[in-house]
Each structure stands twice: as C-alpha cells, then as structure tokens.
Amino acid sequence: MKLTTRKFDALIIGAGGAGLRAALQLSNADARVAVVSKVFPTRSHTVAAQGGVNAALANVLPDSWHWHMFDTVKGSDYLGDQDAIEYMCRAAPKVVYELEHFGVPFSRLDDGGIYQRAFGGQSQHFGKEQAARTCAAADRTGHAILHSLYQQNLRARTHFFDEYFAIDLIKDDAGHVLGVVAFEILSGEPIVIEAKTTLIATGGAGQIFRTNTNALSNTGDGMAMALRAGVPLEDMEFVQFHPTGIAGRGMLITEGARGEGGFLINDQGERFMERYAPKAKDLASRDVVSRAIAIEVREGRGCGRNKDHALLDLRHLGADTIMKKLPGIREMSLTFLGLDPIEKPIPVFPTCHYSMGGIPTNRDGQVVVPMKDTPEDPVPGLYAAGETACVSVHGANRLGGNSLLDILVFGRAAANHILDYLEENRFHRPLHQGSVDQALARLARWDRKGDGEAVEPLRRELRKVMEDHCGVFRTAEVMQEGVTKLRALRERIDNAVIRDHSRTFNTARVEAMELENLMDCAMATICSALGREESRGAHSRMDFPDRDDERWLKHSLYSLQDDAMDYKPVRTQPVTVESFPPKERVY
C-alpha cells in the first residue's frame, strides 16, 4: 500500500493559541502552512482559559513592561530566562492590540479601551502597589482568543488537518527534523507530512495527575514526541497547582475571581492569606497561595465534612459584578456544584493546572539541545511554542495571565523565525525512511491482539502514582518509591492491548497512544523532581525546604535514554536592561 505523502513549507502540530497564532503569521506571509490537530481547532484547551492575558497597557492603573518583567522574574523564583522574559513583556502590548484588531471581543472600559483586571503577583514600581495588567473578555478570554484566531486563519485560508493524530517526528541522520508521521483518526490511515520546518504546539501534560483542570486531550503528545526524537525536556518538576480548582472535581475557578476582590477563608471564616502574604494577600503568586491552602487543610483548618478544602468567597462582590465579570464561573458553579456564588462560597483546593517545563527553546522558538561546546544548540527545522515549550519565561512558577501571553508572543516569534529559515532553506531535504518506519511501527504496535492489560486502568494507576508521589509537597523517599512504581507501569504499558482494532474513528487507539505519551511525561516530571534538592516556586521539598541558588539556580534536563538528568545554566542576562538578581521572595 502506498503511503500518502503531503509537502508543506511549514508544519504546525497543535491548533491551540500558539499553533494558530503561528499559523496566522505564516499564512499572512504566504508560506504554505499545514496545521495538524487531533481535535477540531476550537476544541483545543486554550478555549478554557478564563481570566485573561497580561500586557502593560496601563488602561486602568499606571504600568510598564519593565514592572511586568520584574514581576515575572520574581514570580519564576528567579529560574526564568531573563532575555526571554524581557522579550515577552516588551511584546505584550503589541500582541494584545493585534488580537483586538483580529476581532477578540475584549470587555471594555468606559473610555472604550480594553478592560484590565488585577491578577496575582502583579505590582507597580517593582514590587510596590497592586497592578491591573490582565486584559479580559469577561471570564472567557481563552475562548474569545482561540475562536478569533481560528476565524482569522479561515480568512487567511490556512490548511488544516483536523482530527489527525501525530505519532512521531521524522528526523534524518544529520539531525534535521523533516516533518511528522500522523494518522487520520477518521480512516485510521497513516500519512507522512513533510515540511521544511515543524513547530510543536501541543500544550501541556496536566493529565499525568489525577485531579487536574485540564482537558482529557492534554496528554503531553508533543513533549513525548520530542523526548523520543532525542530532545531532553527542561524543568519538568515545575508543575503548577492552581489554588482554586473546584474541590474534588478539578474544574478551574479563575484567579480573576480573586482579582475582582474575592478571597479565601478557612473553617474559622478567617482570611488566612493575610498570614502568608501580608501585602498581596489573596493575590500572591499561585505557588504561595496553593501551599497556604494545603497547609491550612493539613493543620486541620479545612472546610466541609472532611475538612479537605478551603472556601472562595465572592458574595461581597455583589450580583452585578459576578454576572458581568465572572459569568462563566457562576455558570460552572451552578452546573457542577448546584451552588450560586452570589449566595454561597465555592469549595476549592489546589489542582494540577500547568506545566512550566517542556521542550527547551530559545526566544525565537527554536528547539535547543546541549552540544559539546554549548548548552543550547538549535535542532535544525524544529520549533516549539506555548505550554509544550520551555523558553523559559515561567521558570519555577507561572504568573496568572502569562500563559495566554506566552502562546501569543512565542507562537508569533517562532513563525517569524521560520519565515527567515525558509528564505535560506528553499528545498525539502530527502525523506528519512528509517524514521518513518519507526513511527509506523509505533502505530502498528496497537494492532497486537491477545491477552494483556487494558489501557484505562493503567492510565488511572499512572495518575494516582503521580498524585501520591509527586504532589504539592515532595520528599526523596516518597518520590523514589514513585519512580519504582512508574518503571513497573512502563513495562506493563508495553504489554497492554486494546480490544477495538477497527480503522474507523478508533478512539481506543488514540487513547492508547496518549497513554504512552503520558507515561514519558510523568517519568520526566518525577525524575526531575527527585533530582532537584531544593524548594523553588512550585517545587516544594519537605526534605530540602529552602531555595539554594548556589547549587540549583539552573535548569533541569531529562532525557528518555536511561532516565538521565543533566543541567544547564539560567540565562540571567536580559536583552537590554539590567539583570534582576535573586532575592528573597515575599508577597
């Protein structure tokens, strides 16, 4: 049987905000671009982002990109790369204005400008008064952005491969990435998509944890593909637990709820954040607030019958603000809790939300790996952007409102670099058949019949291991046990089988391949966490409670080969301004 082969200048895997922003830039520049997505584009998880996107527009309070940069560096617990952070914060107003021109229905101020709200970790004057930097379309900002970007791509006639599952990258012996082997979910037919450049924009891997705010499709496909292509993953130990997931369920309650004035209380009715962050209180960084809630519960001040959560109180905001600024939150509370936040506080608990780590890139979106003489050598033809990537602008802890910004700025930046690359690399390199065959074998592996464990129980076990052994508070002993369990699981997954072997829209096969990807991401996370013997940002070690800049102001790199750990320096030098040196972090 002949394998279908298609050729494009630029290939994008993933149709969330980063992929679509890049695609738009490329289509508008008349490059031949293809977007491959396992779900219809508007079903990508960007659609679920609520609160907004940060940019120092100064529409509500005084602001500057430099203050935004300071907050981001501090929020990252000094692990963020300051050149990339400067680049992002400087570019922020421009990308937000572009969005507005693309048609995003931002909420508006009385003067007709874009509405901005306060979010956690934001300040004026380098750590002084609270800032209002988050541009919002009610509490549906991600939806508004994703749909507008998709619409603009329709206008630009971008070519979409909807509901195609990417199996693996194609890479030749010289290390050039030549595209991807995918399969059409509808027909089950494999396809080779050749491209001069490949951008991975597949989002995060939140499904490695049992309770998470993520879509079922957030299975770290791109991260795992990169690992299998020999690219290490950076800083995977840094997993953000969002302070306000709906307790026990995981649905996200935006930080914008606290930005609009909501606050957290314990079983005494006490606003406990005043003790943990006297100045910023409920708008401290997410890592700080999540730890505070976890400590309150652990020390017996949790709410509810099982004393296992905190309450988010919005009642004092009044019906008007809630209906106008947080309509989606109200709708979700009514649907999932049968509770109206106008009348009752919402039960919340820290919930796995975001992968700070990912595929290492520079600020042009090029994927970079350590080589003999440099820690960051670009992989020719390969790019990554968004949650799947690690630029790193979030370091050890991401600020709310910086993820939508990240996808826009670096989706765009990657596209611009791709255009330059295409100028200089006008022809496709010869296809590497060995690499294609390997990917096809990965697909065919699931045709195996006979006895074997099923996929779903294994997936459930994996997520439970991660929650029990690599959660908010970590110790060497518990994690070591987790690694042992995961290694055993990895072998069992090798022998798992699916019962459904039909070609047509076989979701069992998709889920099986997603499980393999989750496995690789989970292993990367726990090995990196075990390696880092300090507490920084979202990574809290009970056995190493302090930050240790002398030994650990560096990025982790996990490789699939032997689960090996390596490290590389933080880029502490910004592009034009002075570096922000590490300081004690108080809010």
Partner: protein, 233 residues
C-alpha cells in the same frame, strides 16, 4: 443505571442498532455527569466511540442526543436523566461511528457566514475603541462553542443543510453584524438575502431550547431579519 446506546461501525455493521449497557449503582457518585458515566462504559467496551475533551462545557466536543434532546454529555447531570438513558448521535447529520457524526457540512456553513472581523481602515497602533454598550451587544453571541446542538435540532437545517446556514452559523453572522468594529455589514446582509440562507428559519426555536450555553440563535436570526428589513425600506 441502564443505558441504551446507538451503535454503528461501518466496517462490521450493515445497519445501526441499539445496545444495552448497565452501570453498577455503586459507580454512580453524587454530582456525576453523563460524560463520567460514558467514560466508565467505555472501560467495559473500548469500542464505544464518542468525542470528548474539556469535560466542562467549553470545548463543545461531546454533543449528542440524550433522551431525545441534544446536549453536552459533560454538563448533563446523571440525576436529571430518566433510565434507561437513550443516547443517539445528533439527528440529521451523517453518522461516522456510534455517537460520532460527520460535522463537515456544519463547519462549511460556519465558514459560509464569513465569521471574521472585517475592518479595512488604517490600523491604529493601539486598540480600536468600542463603548461598553456596543460591546454588550456581543453578549449572547460570541460565546458559541460550535458544539452543533442547535443546528442538529433544527428541522429546517435537517431538510436543507446545504442551503440553509442553520442557527449556529447565523448566530455567528449576527455576532459580526452586531460588532461596531466590523465594516462588512452591508455585504453580510446581502449574502444572507436569498430564499434559503436565512429565511428557511421558521421560528421553531428548538435551537434556543437546546443551546447548552443558554444562547438564543432564534432571537439573533430575528434581529438579522429586522436589520435587513430596515435597510431595504
């Protein structure tokens, strides 16, 4: 809890059939949604096929016909459903497999509505201004998640899916006609001004009844008509 679920695999089945499933009562937890139940049923039989992703009603993947009414499985509480729960794919759309329908025509009609902002004025270096009142006119229009519940419940769309745009696409048309920043209003109205695109809507209002986001395509269509009439006199 008993289920009766529409099954069809084009590779092995000459015709669709309904299959009974049972979910043990001790697996049903308080607050459980239909999607949670479906995921458990898929563990019994991994060939049971349906789309799903976000699990909280924003991605629009898991639209289906639930006890006769279109809705999203992930935000349909189990406690509201009468047993046996009868699940079918969207009516009026070609079935690919089980609960998965071919939405190509639905997306085609969406594109026909040219759902993108058109503004050819010189681009300012900042945002284009829009008053809060003008922005308010987009509420109830821009929140559509393209799940398809509305169009798949509309008899006019069932009969004329190629020529009638259907409620979802018309809601998009209204969203851009209403946007004070958009300059293509005349062109948009002209494109809709034929016997089918818009005017096949007979005000049956199934769309509004089933919309899982509480939107009102029926009203949006009425507003477009009124705008059209106003322009023509």
């Amino acid at each position: 809890m008993d289920f009766s679920i529409y099954r069809f695999n084009p590779e092995t089945d000459s015709a669709p059939y309904m299959q009974d499933f049972t979910l043990a009562d001790d697996l049903i937890e308080p607050g459980m949604m239909l999607l949670d139940a479906l995921l458990l049923l898929k563990e019994q039989d991994d060939s049971l096929s349906f789309r799903r992703s976000c699990q909280h009603g924003v991605c629009g993947s898991d639209g289906m016909n639930i006890n006769g009414v279109n809705g999203l499985a992930c935000i349909t509480p189990m406690k509201d459903l009468k047993a046996p729960i009868v699940l079918r794919p969207f009516p009026g759309m070609p079935v690919i497999r089980d609960l998965i329908v071919d939405m190509d025509n639905f997306y085609h009609q969406y594109r026909e509505a040219e759902p993108w902002l058109v503004n050819d004025s010189p681009e300012p270096e900042v945002e284009r201004r829009q008053s809060p009142e003008d922005r308010d006119r987009l509420d109830g229009l821009y929140e559509c998640i393209l799940c398809g519940c509305c169009s798949a419940s509309c008899p006019s769309y069932w009969w004329n899916p190629e020529r009638f745009l259907g409620p979802a696409a018309l809601l998009q048309a209204a969203r851009f006609i209403q946007d004070s920043r958009d300059q293509a209003t005349e062109e948009r109205l002209r494109r809709l001004d034929d016997a089918y695109s818009l005017y096949r809507c007979h005000g049956i209002m199934n769309c509004t009844q089933v919309c899982p986001k509480g939107l009102n395509p029926s009203k949006a269509i009425g507003d477009i008509r009124r705008t059209m009439i106003k322009r023509s006199v």
